[in-house]
Subunit: 329 residues, 2 copies
């Protein structure tokens, strides 16, 4: 079977991979997401990331079986379009990303929702392999979710998995989405950063912004937060404690509703903070679990930062495997 | 096809029905649930309710294809046992309800979880018929839930649907389950009654308890609450407003997670208060729905008070229909 390409299109970076038939990474690349221009500029940056990943895998994009792209925004996989990807520059309208990229790269391009492809990667190749049902929680700038039931991703009418906007506190904190009391209002990296800036204005002491500047960053990245936690920074500690409490309540609510086998914590913060913090989330769930004598397992995503791109590569049709399945049937 | 019997075993009453092949009710009965004794006494009361419903349908229990029982507590349908049904007298341990009843009534007895059988009744015969996916919300003494996905009830590891214990307010009100901030802590009839008694002790004015006594009740039943609301009673109004706000947040959370087509509101309060209050719940969901341009439909359960008993009857194996399916296959 031919190699497949995968792109995780994020608000900050474009992660590219090329994987073999087993899903093993043979080449990877990481480019910054353009902060100006429009969808066409983003498409060119994706193409550059895809070419570099192919080169690292000693091939070229036209020789790949195809390339999958995990995208934010409203993804229409059939039409090959992405609409209102609000974290990307000038992307309010609908853009035919699939055609633009396949023209540029000479190979078929498949699209999927970023969170769903990352969940699917954990299901097929990562921490989700042992479970029939689990909840993927992608703890990063926002908090995204993927619901796996009977080893399939549940989409509902199209857009299931908005776990970040489950309500953990009626009349609570304002969320970046504009609503009140969402889990993401407490646990999202974006919301935490906004709160950190407010607290500093009110005189809170913290090294968070010093660490940020020292690293040449303009945002409180997961790495910046992790470093501050390591140093026992009081504001970073308070923000993460607050986030974990909200995650515990929201994820426990999802488990009370669906009684799933496991929870898999990924995303920038989830991956960076690792299993000790997944264990803290598990402990924060416990007071809210209706059946607390058999809590679900809580594990860190195994594919880490590359999960989104690897999952995107899995979107590419696998003609060899399909043919085998038909022959066996 | 022979007639089937169904029993809804509640903490207050035992509702019995006999239904025909189309699920139409041919006979019904309603007996109070024993408040003393143990599982054997409850079984005798169930048997009496089943006999009376059969008589009303001009038959006897031994002539039925079988009887289904929807029970609270931990139901093991395969073993035919019910364990720790805490609303029923002396029912902490495991009791072989299936055998006890079939010996007494001369017909096979099938068991199911009370909320799931009521959800299944709405799915097969009630307000759930048009939808591939919906959430059943049984708003009564507690708040139970049934999750229907692709026209099947989702059970998870065994016990999905505990929507009443989704967290709507971290560190919030104490729930009858002992935890804090559950939806049921605000919306359950039991929790509302406890709060009403507290508020009266603090000097709140209300006719709730006068209406209760006038009707010869010892609890604030759904009927008592509905009457007080009709009269504009300020405490009843405040309690229901608080309940609806919590229901809106909790149900919206479930929809954000699962993106279901519809919500069906049943249970004692849901059925009694009807569509105007279902519409109020829909309005209370709106500020929390992530995709608020396409909210799910919110409908009152169609089978009303009898839904649990009718759903229990659907547990009875349908040999005639099965044979036809096999012949067609």
């Amino acid at each position: 079977m031919a190699l497949r390409g995968g792109i995780d299109l994020g608000g900050t970076k474009i992660q590219g991979v090329v994987v073999d038939a087993a899903g093993e990474v043979c080449g990877e690349s990481r480019h910054p997401t353009p902060t100006e221009g429009g969808p066409h500029d983003v498409a060119l940056a994706i193409a550059a990331a895809a070419r570099e990943a192919a080169e690292k895998a000693s091939t070229d994009t036209a020789s790949l079986a195809g390339i999958g792209v995990g995208s934010p925004g409203d993804v229409d996989a059939t039409a090959g379009t992405v609409t209102s990807a609000r974290n990307l520059p000038g992307w309010e309208g609908k853009f035919p990303l699939s055609v633009a990229l396949s023209d540029e790269l000479g190979t078929p391009v498949a699209l999927g929702n970023d969170v769903n492809v990352a969940t699917n990667a954990e299901l097929e190749l990562g921490a989700g392999r042992p479970y029939a049902s689990f909840l993927g929680v992608f703890w990063g700038t926002g908090v995204g979710g993927g619901v796996v039931l009977d080893r399939k991703i549940w989409l509902g009418r199209a857009s299931a998995g908005e776990i970040g906007h489950m309500v953990v506190k009626v009349d609570g904190a304002r969320c970046p989405c504009g609503r009140r009391g969402c889990m993401e209002a407490y646990a999202g990296r974006g919301a935490m950063e906004a709160r950190a800036r407010e607290q500093v204005e009110k005189g809170a002491e913290t090294d968070l912004f010093k660490i940020m500047e020292k690293r040449g960053r303009t945002r409180l990245t997961s790495g910046v937060i992790a470093r501050a936690l390591d140093k026992g920074d009081p504001l970073a500690t308070a923000l993460i404690d607050r986030a974990i409490k909200a995650l515990g309540a929201g994820i426990a609510s999802a488990i009370n509703l669906l009684d799933l086998e496991a929870v898999i914590i990924g995303g920038g913060l989830g991956t960076r903070l690792g299993q000790p913090y997944a264990d803290r989330i598990a402990a924060a769930m416990l007071p809210h679990l209706f059946f607390d004598d058999r809590p679900p397992e809580v594990r860190v995503a195994e594919l880490g930062d590359l999960g989104g791109a690897i999952g995107a590569a899995l979107l590419v049709e696998q003609p060899a495997r399909r043919r085998r399945a038909v022959a066996a049937g």
